[in-house]
Symmetry: C2
């Protein structure tokens, strides 16, 4: 098996309402049955009109961008400095929800397609109706944990299985292969990126020679279920969650949260027991540790001084 990866030149600028099937077959009349078309999500978004208008500059631009980001976000996964990694409503974990300001004029942001699998399916069907039987992958550039640099992966797919599963096969030593479910549509997206430009308008590549593997059920197969993901939250966020959990432990006490907020506002708080008994002092002692832990979850370091009438918590400046 030999693969070829061919850039599709001359697609030009894509705008809302454009017929991608037409643009692609015009630019690549050589497209053949069995080819895999890898299409950058940006032009799918543009053709589908997934653009929002934003101010070209100034603080209003950043405010608008934040509003757009919030709309595309199902949950925040991690934040550090200017970087926000979120899970989108599709389930993708991406920096800034895949919202992009490149390859578009300064008054617009490009959002991901609403349903990239449906977009891939629709493009495949249109090409099929023109008697071109090709698989379609819609790709985008993503970062990843643990490794520098970005790679292209698949957001949508039609006419190809997302995963090639080697489980159950035997190696030459008779060992059964395990843990070898290869995310081939991600590998095909990465391969296609190698011939596409970032700035030179080659948003489509064709991969020729990869054996067909059935219709597939889309790239959504590659979205890991959050519950089974060992990295569903950023390290700092998960540690802060641990501190918050420690503060509340069994008692989800609004008073603890309120006290922590008061201390942040005033810099210090005096706590006294609810009654005169030794057990009241024990309870107050535990509460001081809850409050201090709640503050630690938000990055505030504190001191506490105990005396015979109560406790004083102070934030370390």
């Amino acid at each position: 098996m030999k693969l070829e990866i061919l850039p599709v030149q001359g697609i030009g600028d894509v705008t809302a309402g454009d017929d991608l099937a037409e643009l692609i077959t015009k630019a690549a009349p050589w497209l053949a049955d069995g080819d895999i078309l890898v299409v950058t999500s940006k032009i799918v978004s543009k053709a589908e009109g997934r653009l929002v208008e934003v101010p070209a500059d100034g603080p209003e631009r950043e405010e608008a961008r934040q509003r757009v980001l919030a709309g595309e976000t199902a949950r925040v996964v991690a934040r550090r400095g200017p970087t926000t990694i979120v899970q989108t409503h599709h389930g993708f974990v991406m920096a800034a929800a895949g919202i992009d300001a490149s390859n578009v004029d300064k008054t617009h942001l490009v959002l991901l397609p609403v349903d990239p699998d449906a977009s891939a399916r629709s493009l495949r069907d249109k090409l099929l109706s023109q008697n071109k039987d090709v698989a379609v992958i819609i790709s985008d550039t993503m970062g990843r944990a643990w490794r520098n640099g970005l790679t292209d992966v698949a957001l949508g797919a039609a006419g190809i299985e997302a995963i090639r599963d080697h489980r159950g096969e035997l190696d030459p030593y008779g060992n059964e292969l395990v843990l070898t479910q290869m995310a081939v549509i991600d590998e095909l997206s990465a391969a296609a990126e190698l011939v596409k430009g970032k700035s030179d308008q080659v948003p489509v590549a064709v991969i020729r020679g990869y054996p067909g593997t059935g219709e597939g059920s889309g790239a959504k197969e590659l979205i890991r279920d959050t519950a089974s993901d060992m990295f569903s939250l950023g390290t700092a966020e998960a540690r802060a969650q641990g501190l918050r959990d420690a503060a509340l432990l069994d008692a989800d006490d609004e008073a603890t949260t309120q006290r922590a907020l008061d201390i942040v506002r005033t810099g210090a708080l005096r706590l006294t027991p609810a009654g005169p008994s030794p057990a009241d002092f024990l309870r107050l002692g535990a509460e001081t540790h809850r409050v201090r832990t709640m503050l630690a979850a938000d990055g505030h370091r504190t001191t506490v001084v105990f005396d015979d009438a109560g406790a004083t918590i102070e934030v370390i400046k």
Copy 2:
């Protein structure tokens, strides 16, 4: 630019001491200047004798495997069920430190090459001395956060830049491109995997047509520094760290840890104050919360009862 990805057939079984340059040029006499050779790390490890003997089965096999894993581990990143994700001494974050039992007889495990960049460099130099000027990438299969399925990435590289950096380039709208450092050696590894087999002995592929980009400083460029990694620890591990941090807060108190251990052993512990003053009771109250939080970090839920003489912590069965 058009790429070709060509499998190298007929390399056969590789054993310690084999000359990979010779095996490859014999199997692929058509190898040409400018080609990129993508070599599965497994055969590099085998040629370099990176094998350890283990019992073929039984509990002794698993014990031996755990010992080997510990030796290859710089730090544990996350654990769930039978899965252990570690950072290796090289810096790679991989399940089971990349130790592999496939494509080897049942009495051996294959470890990663000691220094994959050096292995790539050595193979490139040997081929250069035979007047073949090819880049070399050593690849392996890895999982990733957030996405199902595995992809091949680069462990080592020579004769090629690890990253293609588009920063500073302008798109057709005049926007400067940011965040577009592409991990091209990972994408090349992924592309090569598409023509390699898992069980059918195609451990080498050639990529033809990718423009040369200099000598490069190796795949170690792709290892993200732990301090700048937002996902340096698993979510559960980071949350537990938060709980432990909450237990100790400012005071790294061995007594707290010891009390928590005592409670796990006996199921319950009675705590009494160090002295009779109200401040002593406040301190003991705080300590009960520290101890309970320490237990929570290890997954133990507890109750506490305060009375006028002290506190009783019990583990909920």
